[in-house]
Symmetry: C2
Subunit: 222 residues, 2 copies
DNA sequence: TAGATTGTTAATCGATTAACAATC
DNA sequence: TAGATTGTTAATCGATTAACAATC
């Protein structure tokens, strides 16, 4: 198992996808799979799958392929899904509430412990048994409960300050939904989800597609 | 302006980020910017910025740099943000409701026209003046109103069928939040937002970071 | 004009794919 | 054993960076 090789972000971002496909195979009772067959299902090359996996170890067997359940569990370990993470949500607006109610994350080990907002209307409200607290209480809470991860679903004007505070209080990861790039000095990990960027990418591609179609039509008319 | 060059996904995904930074510059009253200064703000190379932009045309001026407002507007055009898009949301659970309430998308031209669900408890409910309709009424609605984009926030078990239907009814783009890769035969554009993939990437990186720190500590103790 | 900075070509780097020896 | 398929090295491809002539 190559211990400390630098692994590219491209590879890391493919891991959850492998995990997802293996989970489906498992559900369908499929016991073993070759890189070739998996590659056909996923629409990637078999080479890429083997290269990706071999960044983390040799999980397969020559002449046989990969044991689905074993590989599934190994990828879970690689992704850190065998750990539990204590989570808070900062900003309990629509999106914060949606994430709070999303139990799938909970099942994967991301345990919601606290909810924080500045809005007096929201403070005191309860979601899945957890009370929304004033953001002033956050520092004490984070330190006492050793919070690992914060989901940031608050307005972009406030997110930088909050992110820096959380980092200084020992939070390890930030899942940022604000349309800002948080480049913090500390070694906290930031994962951005830029929904509006994603939507713009979609509109770009829709337009390109339409241009392409128009061009085809024109060609046909000549 | 190079008309029909094939533009890589990497470039496309950077466009909204440029757009975001230029928007901020504009807000701060900055009139012109060089690729060098922008590169320093964004943490990328000036070369990359110039290369990326020149896929779409020469927007700058030698010796001067780029006019912020002009470039901002040009990128908006490239992204198709000068158009309006008629949007429906399919699946009005927590996430669907959150997206329905998110007015920023509306401001950018993504106009919410309809909400659909199967749940009788939700049907008849109103969000921002729009009534949640039974999914059975969706076909007629989509065809009549010439819907451009559907946000898919429904359970993964149902998403494939719905996606195929929508594509066949002429919808141009799907913004998919289900943990499934929709590979449709038709030429509808699919943009996936895999939230759980994103969260897993975060947990992977948190674990790596912790391993690195431990390694450092060990080294120190020797 | 001189200085600044673009647009673009060339060089480098990294990621993906192909090939194949190792081995189950 | 023979066939299959991995793990891994080598070749290819594409994306990023560097360099610089063009030009405002």
């Amino acid at each position: 198992m190559p211990a400390n090789r630098r692994i590219s972000m491209a590879v890391i971002r493919r891991l959850p996808r492998y995990y997802r496909y293996l989970g489906e195979l498992l559900e369908n009772g499929i016991k073993r799979i070759s890189s070739k067959e998996l590659s056909e299902r996923m629409g990637v090359t078999a080479s890429q799958i083997r290269q990706d996996l071999n960044n983390f170890g040799g999980f397969g067997q020559q002449g046989y392929g990969y044991n689905v359940e074993y590989l599934y569990k190994e990828i879970a370990k690689i992704l850190g899904l065998d750990n539990k993470y204590k989570v808070i949500i900062v900003g309990v607006g629509n999106l914060g509430q949606a994430l709070a109610n999303y139990v799938k994350f909970e099942e994967r080990g991301f345990v919601l412990c606290g909810l924080f907002d500045v809005n007096p209307r929201l403070i005191g409200m309860t979601i899945r048994g957890i009370e929304v607290k004033d953001i002033d209480e956050m520092e004490a809470f984070v330190k006492e409960n050793k919070i690992d991860i914060a989901y940031l679903t608050l307005p972009k004007s406030k997110v930088r300050k909050v992110a820096e505070d959380l980092a200084s209080w020992g939070v390890k990861g930030l899942w940022n939904f604000s349309p800002v790039d948080l480049d913090l000095s500390s070694d906290v990990i930031v994962e951005d989800v830029h929904l509006s960027d994603s939507l713009m990418t979609l509109s770009y591609r829709i337009n390109r597609q339409m241009q392409k179609k128009e061009a085809q039509l024109k060609k046909l008319h000549k």
